[in-house]
Point group: C2
Chain length 307, copies 2
């Protein structure tokens, strides 16, 4: 960084292609400041997670993050510093730097983040639109933890060991930057991050690529504790995992010949494991889910909150 905080704008030495994403979180919409569930530090971290996850979903190298705080009256300098500290910690873990920002007054706490990544070649970046018939569908890590944690936060599921594991993960979102770069380098065709749930996000790939992603619902990798909390709730853990969102894992389509290279690349990057969950077919553009007997499972309009 050549110029940062204290001048009119931040100046950074660029690489050939810039990759830019915006995201915002608002008190009462994406988190509750008055709840017991997230400290200001964790809220700062949460704010950065979405925009950084979008960079991961392009296979970009992380660069700078810019943080705009909308602070309500009486929020206090100490908590504002904690917000920035939390954001800075996640940036550092992901290989990014907080390079600037601004503060304005707002009626409720609002954090708006711009994340900038870089690439030396356009081919290094993977969009949503390259999936081909015959590709395998893979997903990194495990799904459903933030959705199940929400049920705990909202008092619909009891506390306990499983709940605590889910809460810990929901409070510490981890965008998959290293995984995104490893996948992009291993010959995948299409890539997206799971912010709205794989039922929605896999359909984005399908529509952008004009193919159908056929996914086996029970192949989805469940996060530790999801099954237990869903048993308490009387809900289906795979539906929750497919629909609840905020997982920040990556979903991708790749030719079968690359399967082992991809698994090796993720392992070499020290990244999350891949689970192969389906394949790409011709057919109505979008995503379809099937049960263990191969029957269609409609997930559209499924309300993960059970209320």
């Amino acid at each position: 960084m050549l110029r940062g905080v204290g001048d009119d704008a931040a100046v950074v030495r660029a690489r050939r292609f810039s990759v830019t994403s915006l995201d915002a979180i608002v008190d009462g919409v994406h988190f509750r400041l008055d709840g017991e569930w997230r400290t200001p530090r964790e809220i700062g971290r949460l704010a950065l997670a979405g925009a950084l996850s979008d960079l991961a979903a392009m296979g970009a190298d992380p660069g700078e993050a810019y943080l705009l705080l909308g602070l309500p009256g009486g929020f206090g300098e100490e908590r504002a510093i904690e917000l920035v500290r939390g954001a800075g910690e996640l940036a550092e873990e992901c290989g990014a730097v907080i390079a600037g920002g601004d503060v304005v007054s707002a009626p409720v706490l609002t954090l708006s983040v711009t994340a900038v990544g870089w690439a030396d070649a356009a081919e290094q970046l993977i969009g949503r639109d390259g999936a081909l018939e015959g590709d395998l569908v893979g997903v990194t890590g495990t799904l459903g933890a933030p959705g199940a944690a929400l049920a705990v936060m909202e008092g619909r599921a009891p506390r306990g060991a499983a709940a605590e594991r889910l809460l810990a993960r929901a409070r510490n979102p981890a965008p998959r930057l290293a995984e995104g770069r490893a996948l992009a380098g291993a010959g995948i065709h299409a890539l997206i991050d799971l912010s709205d749930g794989i039922a929605t996000d896999a359909a984005h790939i399908g529509r952008a690529s004009a193919v159908k992603l056929a996914i086996r619902l029970h192949a989805l990798p469940l996060a530790d504790g999801v099954r237990e909390v869903c048993a308490e709730l009387g809900g289906d853990p795979w539906r929750l995992a497919a629909c609840a969102g905020e997982d920040y894992e990556l979903c991708f389509c790749a030719p079968p010949a690359q399967r082992e290279a991809i698994e090796r690349a993720l392992a070499d990057a020290g990244g999350e494991q891949v689970t192969w969950i389906g394949e790409v077919l011709a057919g109505e553009p979008g995503a379809g889910f099937s049960d263990e007997q191969g029957g269609d499972v409609p997930l559209q309009g499924f309300e993960h909150r059970w209320d």
Copy 2:
């Protein structure tokens, strides 16, 4: 732009140095959605003005703008489209492109903007920290229109021909991108945009450069209509011009030898005229204002709203 709306992030071919600024405006803080004074289109325009003005204040070439909308329930698609249209119009006038963005829910209308500019050489960019003893202090265009317009909007000054001219200007902020580039190319030492009023912003240059900007208050160029509205209000138009802010003009320090080259560069760029308002002295870092007899005029704590 290689990838834009519809993928996880926008991809843009970069130049050597990126220049990035964030700004946000919030209903009830920076504008009033329920007032008669600004249409959604003008609010979109206003949102972009601050961040683009920061690029002007570096002498950067404008590049992309990214717009994040926080929309309250029931805001409606039509008005949201008008916001984006207004932002897009100002971007186009300034030579920038809206390259991406996002929409979230928020309790009140919130627009958060990231503006990215570019430069091929670091020396092309001008910070706040280069002013030298002996430099002249210049300002582009005219000051005070948004401050005086606010008095009209708040019902403290009557409508009339002067008021209408002020309102028209306040509704159509115009960041000085062309002027910023022309100044940066004409050998100036320090540059800032006037968002908080020259009393505050000139002091930023002074402190960053460890010099004192000595400014003749009555040399400030008043915008058309400011004098008339201040006469109605019983206020001093020069104090208003110095303190009210949101002018989005540029203030700069330059060696006297460059005076004519600067005036010519601004004229060649089709830009606003320059007014020479003071000089740079050794002394306590900051800015000082003097009256026509050379006496100090304290402006710190001056409340431009007179209420």
